[in-house]
């Protein structure tokens, strides 16, 4: 079944002060897929996500978001497209001068193309925060929350507008294993309950493994092993980045079978 393209890169390169952060990267993510982008620190994963959203302009190549060429699109024209994308930044990217309520409400209030009526803002914020089990933190400011909680608020903010595409930038970076698993369970939950297309960059292969093999059980409110035929197992693709280059692209079986020393070393260690 061929579905619409949500993000497409065509020979994209990004240069910062003479250094290539992305080097001739091409890929296509289609609606309904789960895309896991693996790579060591400094491999260009974060830049790739920012380019996908038009936050960083490519030096060469073309970028398509929902089949619209955004390579040279003006900032003000990008806003309506960006309103269909949720993003979780590496450290949460929360506004530290705003309360948690204001942070989560931010896209509802500021995205011109969303037009959320004022009376619906608070109920939607509450719903988004309850989704990440932080319904009691409305009046707090980010500095009062732990790193894991800030990441969960970031997930709530990324999903509050119910976008069809959500980008996760290293959601488990710097967290202890238990908190990291909680965050990944929320990513699985968001994917399966809200039916979004997630693109996740991470340095932990087990994050990708979880997304590719587990799904959300609503009745028991926990992740469980996905059965054959579930979108998790059928539609998860991996990409591996190394120093700005895309060195691998394919499903989990191909990843496990890869003979590339960088890819196999990076992946198999964690399986």
């Amino acid at each position: 079944m061929s579905t619409a393209s949500v993000v497409r890169f065509e020979h994209v390169s990004v240069e910062f002060d003479g250094d290539l952060a992305l080097n001739d990267v091409s890929f296509d993510v289609r609606a309904g897929e789960t895309r896991v982008i693996l790579g060591a620190a400094g491999s260009g994963k974060t830049v790739l996500l920012k380019v996908a959203m038009g936050l960083v302009r490519p030096s060469a190549g073309r970028v398509f978001l929902f089949d619209t060429n955004i390579t040279h699109l003006r900032e003000r024209d990008l806003f309506s497209l960006r309103s269909r994308v949720g993003i979780l930044f590496q450290e949460g990217g929360l506004f530290d001068s705003l309360t948690i309520e204001e942070n989560v409400a931010y896209p509802l209030v500021n995205q011109a193309s969303i037009k959320c009526p004022a009376e619906e803002v608070l109920p939607r914020v509450n719903q988004a925060l309850q989704f990440v089990e932080l319904g009691h933190t409305l009046a707090k400011v980010p500095s009062e929350l732990s790193g894991g909680m800030r990441r969960r608020v970031g997930i709530a903010r990324a999903g509050v507008t119910e976008p069809p595409l959500v980008l996760y930038d290293s959601p488990t970076a710097g967290l202890d294993p238990i908190t990291a698993n909680t965050i990944m369970a929320l990513v699985v939950k968001q994917r399966d309950l809200r039916n979004i297309t997630p693109i996740i960059v991470t340095h932990r292969a087990q994050d990708g493994y979880l997304l590719a093999n587990y799904c959300w059980n609503t009745a028991e409110s926990k992740v469980e092993r996905a059965t054959a035929g579930h979108r998790a197992t059928e539609q998860t693709e991996y990409m591996v980045m190394c120093e700005g280059k895309l060195v691998f692209q394919g499903p989990e079986e191909a990843l496990s079978a890869s003979s590339d020393p960088y890819v196999s070393k990076f992946v198999r260690r964690n399986h």
Partner: protein, 247 residues
């Protein structure tokens, strides 16, 4: 040299976008008021203090020189002209640059390194409209007002010296101060702070938005913003003075 020209080009690009943004919606009036409060009301005590003392010092210094020519009665005139044309605008601008160009650069720089600027753009807000425009408008409104206040307090400070130490009457001092001023002086005294305000706010925003490399980068941006804003204040001062002197 190439780097310097590229930086200037980036600055002019930001300035162009900021000026265009003044007429673009949405207008974040609440942010504008907050900035006017932070920059204007926040700078009031220091501007009042420095304004007064600059007038006092000016009167003291000038009285000695004027007494040589038996022209102590001209103290009001000298204090008024020097303060309104030059000292008031430049001193106030330097104070606000030290206080607010740094504040703006560090605030926006911190937001930049913690990805809050990216988050803002990702969530539907243009940082030029939300961060730069309110600071540009607020500084342009409050700096001329602060300068007028500093000028007045400076002349009043000069009066204290003239009255208590030089034995001039109130009428002698204030009349000579008032009569010395021409429209050219007033215009010069108001055009300068307005231009200085544009430079202070835009330089602060520019270095804030260019910040890279974590907390160390924020410190560097803050320092650069103050130094560059201060240098530009003097450069602009020379050009504006040159224009008004020839009018």
């Amino acid at each position: 040299m190439k780097q310097l020209i590229l930086t200037l080009q980036d600055f002019l690009y930001l300035a162009g976008r900021a000026f265009r943004a003044i007429f673009r919606r949405p207008h974040y009036f609440a942010d504008q008021s907050i900035q006017a409060d932070v920059i204007g009301v926040g700078s009031l005590p220091i501007v009042m203090l420095i304004g007064t003392f600059s007038g006092v010092v000016m009167a003291l210094q000038m009285s000695r020189a004027l007494s040589t020519y038996g022209a102590v009665s001209k103290t009001g005139e000298i204090v008024a002209i020097t303060l309104i044309r030059e000292m008031g605008p430049v001193l106030t601008a330097l104070l606000v640059a030290g206080r607010n160009a740094s504040g703006i650069a560090s605030e926006i720089g911190s937001m930049k390194v913690t990805e809050q600027i990216d988050a803002m753009r990702a969530l539907g807000t243009d940082p030029i409209l939300k961060l730069v425009k309110p600071r540009l408008i607020a500084t342009s409104l409050v700096l001329p007002l602060l300068t007028v206040l500093a000028d007045f307090l400076g002349i009043a400070g000069g009066f204290l010296i003239a009255y208590f130490m030089l034995n001039l009457t109130a009428s002698q001092y204030w009349t000579s101060a008032y009569q010395a001023l021409e429209y050219n002086d007033i215009a010069q005294g108001l055009v300068k702070p307005f231009l200085f305000a544009v430079v202070i706010s835009l330089v602060g925003c520019f270095y804030g938005l260019r910040t890279t490399g974590g907390t160390q980068g924020v410190g560097l941006s803050t320092t650069q913003a103050v130094v560059v804003a201060s240098v530009w204040i003097f450069v602009i001062d020379v050009f504006v003075t040159q224009v008004f002197v020839n009018l």
